[in-house]
């Protein structure tokens, strides 16, 4: 479903070149629960950003559903992200003025998904139930704990029924117990909804849920 072929990404900082990815090839199949591990600076975020069409590689191919996305323009990439990809961020990135329900509803507007009001409400409430926030529907992000915020973000990532959800260090801002709960929740949704998940972490303890683990070191996979 997603294939990276010899992806390279280099950042130029003044005169020095930073090789964030040095030719990464990778295949992700539908329903996978993929973990990208690696120390700080190894290129995890860079890799996920490229898979999520937020960033372009300098070289190589990124094929999503058979299309090489390298050639797409800004707007097409935005549309692709809106319809096929869900994002979970390390620092949650919820819209502060929207409550839990509205934050989850938000991507549907961006995607301009044609869905009846009743179906939409059903879908959102079911997701809120699955992430265990039924009592918090009308709460604003600043009234929630970190773990609860990340649950909202998970529901938001899933509401458009994407094929893949990308989570860059989704647990880095959470305590270890909450972190485990969040990864377990993602795994459970991965199972139930058959959504592919790719998440990155440098926390060894949460990798046990992954169906496959890719280890990055200095911008290269160490398999």
């Amino acid at each position: 479903m997603i294939a990276l072929k010899n992806v390279k990404k280099t950042y130029t900082l003044g005169k020095t070149e930073v090789h964030a990815l040095r030719g990464v090839s990778l295949e992700i199949r539908k329903g996978d629960f993929v973990c990208v591990m690696g120390p700080s600076g190894s290129g995890k975020s860079t890799l996920l950003n490229i898979v999520g069409c937020l960033d372009r590689p300098n070289d190589g191919e990124v094929v999503i559903n058979g299309t090489n996305v390298i050639s797409l323009d800004r707007n097409s990439l935005a549309d692709l992200r809106a319809s096929a990809i869900g994002f979970i961020f390390q620092s949650f990135n919820l819209i502060p003025v929207l409550n839990v329900y509205e934050n989850i509803e938000f991507p549907l507007y961006i995607k301009k998904e044609k869905i009846s009001e009743a179906d939409k409400k059903d879908r959102i409430m079911r997701l809120i139930g699955e992430v265990g926030l039924t009592e918090y529907v009308n709460h604003k992000p600043d009234e929630l704990s970190g773990g609860q915020r990340q649950r909202v973000a998970i529901a938001r990532a899933l509401v458009t029924k994407p094929q893949i959800v990308l989570a860059d260090e989704p647990t880095a801002n959470l305590d270890s117990e909450t972190a485990r709960q969040i990864v377990r929740l993602m795994r459970q949704l991965n199972d139930e909804e058959q959504v592919t998940f790719v998440f990155s972490t440098h926390d060894q303890s949460i990798t046990e849920y992954a169906t496959s683990i890719h280890r990055l070191k200095d911008g290269a996979l160490a398999n």
């Binding site: 937020l54 800004r74 992200r81 390390q90 990135n93 819209i95 003025v97 929207l98 938000f106 507007y109």
Partner: protein
């Protein structure tokens, strides 16, 4: 539709989220709106004050003349009858809409000065008017000697200063040379039955550079007959009516027939200039405030752009196109400006209600033809003010909005980690 609702909801909440910034901008918008509304009100008071005053004189609230381009000044009238008279379409419109008006035939004439035994070399103006109907209207006209005599078709009323100049008294005869419809130039003799003067507002004379009105008023029917003008034909009509729907309809009919439309005060460049100047002054004040508004909101917008980078980055990351971001930010600005202008209107209305007694401008009340100033909201000033403010707000947000669309979400997330 739902999508619009959603954007509006988001805009309103984002506006509420930054109270300090918005109160600051709001105060600037308030000040500029008040300046615009106030100046519009000053001009309107001046315009209506003078229009009201001149309505009691020959000018009516406004009038239409067949002497297009020529006849702006009552002291210099054409010596020839016009090629075309006031069109029926116009009088029909006025009749149908029950707008009060009067027909006149007006013509420049050469006067024989009996006292000196020679012709005067400046023209006087002979106005044939329906005395029965019009004298009631011209309440600023005071017959100081003699009277209007309806039984005498050859009776004339003369402006006092002109009568003094010609050394004429009630009962004297006045001979004028007029050109008739066939361009023949003949003498016509009238008897002075009354001498009139203005009751109030001597200041127009000083202010409007009009020393004497060399006006001779004679009965309309008699004059049309003498000159061979078809009955009911008029070279001008004066209209008494403040309804702007009618004045704009009259203006367009007049234009269509190449007649000239004028408000009373337009004849007096000085008054018209004052109205314009008041408008300019307020506009100038408003523009200064708007400039400050642009500069300050540009700063505020830049700051909030940096504050909101992560939020906008998130929207772009989850698939928002640049257009989506622009729509959101523009809708925030427009919503905010709309609310601010509405609040300004309410405050302005409050102020006008508090000053419903009107303000006496003392010496300067000549601006308003001696009337008190009433600070009403001029309907016509609302839309231009609103549009000006929205455009100003958009201009000052142009650059921050442009930057927002260029945001690379990856960068904003990295920033967040600093």
């Amino acid at each position: 539709m739902q999508w619009v609702q959603h954007i509006l909801k988001l805009s309103l909440r984002n506006i509420r989220r930054h109270p300090v910034k918005n109160v600051l901008t709001g105060v600037m918008i308030l000040l500029s709106s008040l300046a615009f509304f106030f100046s519009a009100s000053l001009s309107k008071n001046s315009e209506l004050g003078w229009r009201g005053f001149l309505g009691k004189t020959f000018l009516g609230h406004y009038h239409v003349t067949a002497y297009a381009g020529l006849d702006r000044d009552y002291s210099f009238s054409s010596y020839y009858l016009p090629d075309a008279y006031i069109p029926d379409e116009l009088t029909r419109y006025l009749d149908e809409n029950k707008v009060e008006y009067a027909r006149r035939v007006k013509l420049g004439a050469v006067v024989y000065n009996r006292d000196k035994g020679e012709f005067e070399n400046t023209l006087c103006t002979v106005i044939g008017m329906d005395m029965d109907a019009e004298l009631k209207k011209l309440t600023n006209m005071d017959i100081v000697q003699g009277k209007y005599d309806p039984s005498n078709p050859n009776g004339a009323l003369i402006w006092k200063e002109y009568a003094d100049f010609l050394k004429l008294k009630v009962g004297d005869e006045i001979t004028v040379f007029l050109r008739d419809v066939d361009n023949g130039n003949y003498p016509y003799t009238f008897t002075v039955t009354g001498i009139y003067f203005q009751k109030e507002g001597s200041n127009i004379q000083d202010k409007a550079y009009l020393r004497i009105f060399p006006l001779v008023l004679v009965p309309y029917r008699q004059l049309t007959t003498l000159l061979g003008v078809e009955p009911d034909r008029a070279t001008e009509i004066a209209i008494w009516d403040f309804d702007e729907r009618h004045s704009s309809a009259v203006r367009s009919i007049a234009k269509k027939h190449k007649m000239e439309f004028m408000y009373g005060e337009e004849i007096f460049a000085i008054i018209f200039g004052t109205v314009d100047f008041l408008h300019f002054l307020g506009g100038f004040l408003g523009v200064i405030i708007l400039t400050i508004l642009v500069v300050s909101t540009l700063n505020i917008n830049m700051i909030s752009f940096f504050e909101r980078q992560k939020e906008i980055g998130t929207i772009i990351a989850i698939g928002g196109r640049a257009r989506w971001v622009v729509t959101l930010l523009v809708s925030e600005l427009v919503t905010f400006s709309t609310v601010a202008v509405i609040i300004s209107i309410v405050i302005y209305l409050g102020l006008s209600a508090a000053m419903s007694m009107g303000v006496d401008f003392g010496e300067s009340s000549v601006l308003f033809a001696g009337n008190r100033f009433y600070m009403g909201l001029v309907g016509k000033s609302v839309l231009p003010t609103y549009v000006t403010i929205v455009v100003t707000m958009l201009v000052s947000a142009l650059y921050p909005i442009y930057l927002s669309t260029r945001i690379n979400p990856v960068d904003t997330f990295r920033e967040g980690e600093l």
